[in-house]
Symmetry: C2
Subunit: 295 residues, 2 copies
């Protein structure tokens, strides 16, 4: 038994006429009759009640007809869908992003892609930049939004946005009255920043910002999660330098201020250069279109 036999069966079940069913199958009646006989023999079931004048379905045949319709439908769907997956119109895309981008480019990117490729299941995975890099090379992620850390041999990169850092602090902090803050003001401040092992590009930008002025920042806490940093600032444990897009909606009690010569970081969309997932290319293209609008 095979789907070809099921199609033979369906042709006869629908026409109830060997000649016309054979014609529909683009063959002559004798081999068609043989095929029907073969189907009944291999199944061991009489599917048609027939004489030289009439053809009718048996109850078993009627039941089989429903099942065949389903099987053939699913079969066609499977063959169609595999093409769609290969073309990137369908499938799955595991997309990683860092919290620092969650409020800026990620929502737009996800929304545009979901609209362009509604049959691709987007698996979102919020990670730290270092985790993202590891998962991209390991192939656990298909694409990710992260800070540009420069060296990336096997990765293709699309620049999405260039974000300046701002400083955040409690609104009762002594510096809260100052409009714009320059590094020298922060010489004595307690700074909260993600560790270099977690967000190398961000931490190195912060470090460079201070060291350019000959200052060694007083980093008192190094939480791995951006979320935690903001919470610690809110508790008055120090100040922090975070991307401008994260400064809105931090909750009450916190304010942000502009930094003189504020460090800026490139937010990029990355994917393995030799990705196997055909859904990625359209994702990168949408990244490029976002880049045009946001830069």
């Amino acid at each position: 038994m095979d789907t070809r036999h099921m199609r033979f069966f369906m042709a006869l079940a629908e026409t109830l006429h060997f000649g016309r069913a054979a014609e529909r199958m683009n063959m002559s009646q004798p081999p068609f009759s043989r095929q029907i006989a073969m189907i009944e023999r291999t199944l061991g079931v009489k599917l048609f009640e027939r004489n030289s004048r009439n053809v009718a379905l048996t109850p078993a045949g009627k039941h089989f007809m429903e099942d065949c319709r389903n099987v053939l439908g699913q079969f066609e769907d499977a063959c169609r869908d595999v093409r769609l997956v290969a073309s990137g119109m369908k499938g799955e895309l595991r997309f990683g992003f860092m919290m620092h981008a969650a409020h800026s480019v990620v929502p737009e990117l996800v929304q545009l892609y979901a609209k362009a490729r509604p049959d691709v299941r987007l698996v979102l995975d919020e990670r730290t930049p270092t985790e993202i890099d590891e998962m991209l090379v390991a192939g656990t992620l298909d694409a990710a939004v992260t800070f540009d850390c420069g060296y990336a041999p096997h990765l293709q990169t699309v620049l999405l946005a260039r974000e300046r850092l701002r400083i955040i602090m409690r609104e009762d902090h002594p510096l809260a009255t100052v409009g714009q803050i320059y590094p020298e003001k922060l010489r004595e401040e307690k700074v909260i920043a993600a560790p270099a092992a977690t967000a190398p590009a961000l931490r190195s930008a912060i470090n460079s910002y201070f060291s350019a002025k000959g200052i060694v920042p007083h980093v008192v806490l190094e939480p791995r999660l951006q979320h935690t940093i903001i919470q610690l600032v809110a508790k008055g444990l120090g100040v922090a330098l975070i991307p401008v897009s994260l400064c809105t909606g931090m909750g009450t009690g916190l304010i942000s201020r502009t930094l003189t010569d504020a460090p800026q970081l490139d937010v990029v969309l990355r994917a393995p250069m030799t990705t196997k997932n055909p859904a990625v290319s359209a994702f990168m293209e949408i990244g490029k279109s976002i880049q045009r609008t946001s830069l």
Copy 2:
């Protein structure tokens, strides 16, 4: 493409080794390789990433694997189920019965059959005896419980029960005080009975009962439904002769009395002699087993 190709694909997708997959398909490796290549060519989709050392699924292949598993499963199920339907273990059985039997043999018959053949969908259809006879010959019903009306050329018959008729009346009826009633007492009574066109066997039994004593019953109302007869008796419009099994649970206000030399009717299970539905035979067998216990 065909299910055979899907099985080839699945063998390779599961083993990721051409030699072992070919072995599983009971063939040598070269033709197997060719089949895989053919599948990819006809689908126009690369399903495996392979070199002379490693075989791996592409994303499209991974997706196709899931679909193939479903399709092949449904395919096997369809082939298995058609055999079950042909053997009468699965399918549908349209079962008609008259209200006069709804309280006696029908519940037991249905219950026993549903237990013996849980995968056969029993379509119950309550009808008048005449409708049942018509539907049996027309093939609209597979089997039915009705009164034995004697002549039934193309039908097979199983005697299920022999029911005596009792007389029912309002409890405030003058005859209510009498313990056992003989026909002469009913000479002047208004009788309610189903018309001969609706329930020939029942009506003829009632008529014979009276005419044997030279009485012409005074039939004032001829409702087609048993339900209606009982309601009319309850309203005091007359008395009625009904099977003993219907005398329980008529509702308050009604009583039943034994009739002297009460007429008796055969309740039979019937099916077309040359039925196509394989589910019928077990149904008739269960009918026979009920017969043994109830007679």
